[in-house]
């Protein structure tokens, strides 16, 4: 791939309470791709995303996002990145429109442009009808879509999505997946997402990184992952097989 590298880490390490959460992680993501972050719970995926956003300080190593150090220029990095966290928090008393307005204001988007973006985002995620209801009454699927709307309003270069499909029913999951694909294909965002849904990941992600116990045990396209370590026939392999094989080895 000739595309520019937008996310890059070198020996990124994080130690929490004497426990290694992320262990000398080095990987990169190119512009415009959907990068799937796979791995069991507690593998250090969320911690890695937090360090990429400059929300958490690495114990060692470095992380660069769009050529900027997440540690030294957190504000610039945060202006260019969107983040959908695991277990999204919302201000319950606000409605969707107010929530998005608050996000627009925090990002310094001029009111008029902000309003346009908000209406547009609400339409894209299909929340136009419920936009004046308090977030309190939203279902989990609606909340996750509102999270995507926040990213759309912000319109960043890179979107970090942490478990965007966690706890969603099949229909909501599919809608979410479609939205994520549209972020990458229509809005030309680079998307880094962590997920447990291997089938969907295989369908939409360009490259994968498998993280186990704080280490990246494998990284690359489906072909690379399968070809390098495993003797699975090219036609029949699934991401699930690849993942399980790595998981058992580790």
């Amino acid at each position: 791939m000739d595309a520019e590298t937008v996310v890059e880490t070198g020996d990124l390490t994080k130690i929490y309470n004497n426990q290694v959460a992320v262990d000398h992680l080095s990987f990169s993501v190119s512009e415009g791709e959907i990068f799937g972050f796979l791995g069991p719970n507690g593998a250090g995926k969320t911690t890695t995303l937090l360090m990429l956003l400059g929300l958490s300080e690495p114990t060692d190593g470095w992380a660069r996002v769009l050529g900027m150090s997440a540690l030294k220029q957190p504000l610039k990095v945060k202006r260019m990145t969107g983040y959908l966290q695991e277990n999204m928090g919302f201000y319950r008393d606000l409605n969707a429109r107010q929530m998005l307005g608050f996000i627009a204001e925090l990002n310094g988007i001029p009111p008029q442009e902000g309003e346009e973006r908000i209406e547009n985002a609400l339409k894209v995620v299909g929340l136009s009808d419920g936009a004046d209801k308090k977030i309190e009454v939203y279902s989990r699927g609606m909340r996750q879509r509102l999270g995507i709307a926040e990213i759309l309003v912000k319109d960043p270069k890179i979107a970090f999505l942490d478990e965007p499909t966690l706890g969603l029913d099949p229909d909501a999951t599919n809608r979410m997946i479609e939205l994520i694909v549209s972020l990458a294909r229509e809005k030309k965002m680079t998307v880094v997402l962590s997920t447990h849904l291997l089938q969907q990941a295989q369908r939409i992600c360009d490259r994968f990184g498998i993280m186990i116990g704080g280490r990246m045990v494998a990284c690359g396209t489906m072909e690379q992952l399968a070809g390098r370590k495993l003797d699975i026939g090219k036609e029949s392999y699934t991401l699930e097989e690849v993942y399980m094989k790595h998981f058992k080895e580790a």
Partner: protein, 319 residues
């Protein structure tokens, strides 16, 4: 800067639309109304004598005819306002997962805590201004005197000190909201500190000190002196005492000293002190209490700084 403005705006909207604030505000309004009517009727009695008091208007705030004046009311319950505005400031955002969302936006981390504190101070200011306006208005209506320029300034300074005093307790509760993850724990800790400094230090400790000093076998007057010295030293750690002393002097021009050592004076000495007492000039009153004001401000700033530092160093786990 834009981020700070947006945050303060949101915090203000949150406060002003919350039931908590509404209940608190109506409670305080109600009490102020009762106080001003009580004070007004007390003043009418005072005005019947042949020697008219000089600062009639200020008596609305301090009238000795009633058991409880506005000054005392704020001293006792002001902390409650401050605590209620802040005890769930940071930890609620953590528990609901909104903090990491906020921090993922292009704002510095300290903007969050600055916004919380400043919005709280604005609300406190709003409350104090409206209470004082209500009392002033009702005072003009019931007593029929309007405040002179000096009285206006005294009330203004009083308001300033009150805002600092209540903000101090806002600082306490924000600190606990940073330290404790549980909202209930942080509320309880703030209340504990409030009761310790406001009630235990000013009432509970007195008995203790007398007990200790009397066991030392000093003669009566020495013991008395020692007790009140220790009491005074201790009382300086209590924001309520600082506030009480400073506002009383500002609001009551007849008070000339903050020293509790008048107990050492003989009867005639005391009489001669009061005999020539005219009201203090505004500047003199202010000079008398300025160390207290600086002290109150310093405690507030230190509390805020501690919460600031703790908050900046906290690890943002996936919250």
């Amino acid at each position: 800067m834009g981020g700070l403005k947006a945050l303060i705006k949101k915090e203000l909207a949150d406060h002003l639309s919350s039931y908590r604030f509404l209940i608190l505000f109506s409670l305080i309004l109600m009490v102020s109304l009762i106080l001003v009517f009580m004070a007004a009727s007390g003043i009418e009695d005072d005005l019947k004598g042949e020697r008219l008091p000089k600062f009639v208007f200020l008596m609305l705030f301090t009238s000795s005819k009633i058991n409880f004046s506005l000054v005392q009311f704020v001293a006792f319950f002001g902390p409650l306002i401050g605590i209620i505005m802040g005890f769930d400031g940071i930890n609620r955002e953590k528990n609901e997962g909104t903090l990491s969302k906020l921090l993922a936006q292009p704002i510095y981390r300290d903007t969050v805590i600055n916004g919380k504190f400043l919005a709280g101070v604005v609300i406190i200011g709003l409350m104090m201004v409206s209470i004082i306006l209500v009392i002033t208005g009702l005072g003009i209506y019931t007593v029929g005197v309007k405040p002179g320029l000096e009285e206006f300034w005294r009330i203004f300074i009083y308001m300033g000190i009150s805002i600092v005093y209540i903000s101090l307790w806002l600082g306490v509760s924000i600190l606990f909201s940073v330290l404790f993850r549980s909202v209930a724990t942080s509320a309880l800790a703030s209340f504990a500190i409030w009761i310790f400094f406001s009630f235990f230090l000013s009432f509970g400790v007195n008995a203790l000190i007398s007990e200790v000093v009397s066991s030392e076998g000093l003669n009566y007057s020495d013991a008395l002196l020692k007790v009140s010295k220790i009491e005074q030293a201790l009382s300086f750690t209590s924001p309520m005492v600082l506030y009480n002393d400073s506002t009383a002097t500002i609001i009551d021009p007849m008070r000339r000293t903050l020293s509790p050592f008048t107990v050492q004076l003989g009867l005639m000495e005391q009489a001669s002190l009061t005999r020539f007492s005219g009201p203090l000039k505004l500047m003199q009153s202010f000079l008398l209490v300025s160390p207290y004001i600086v002290y109150l401000l310093a405690i507030t700033v230190i509390l805020f700084l501690v919460s600031y530092i703790v908050f900046m160093r906290q690890e943002i786990r996936s919250i």
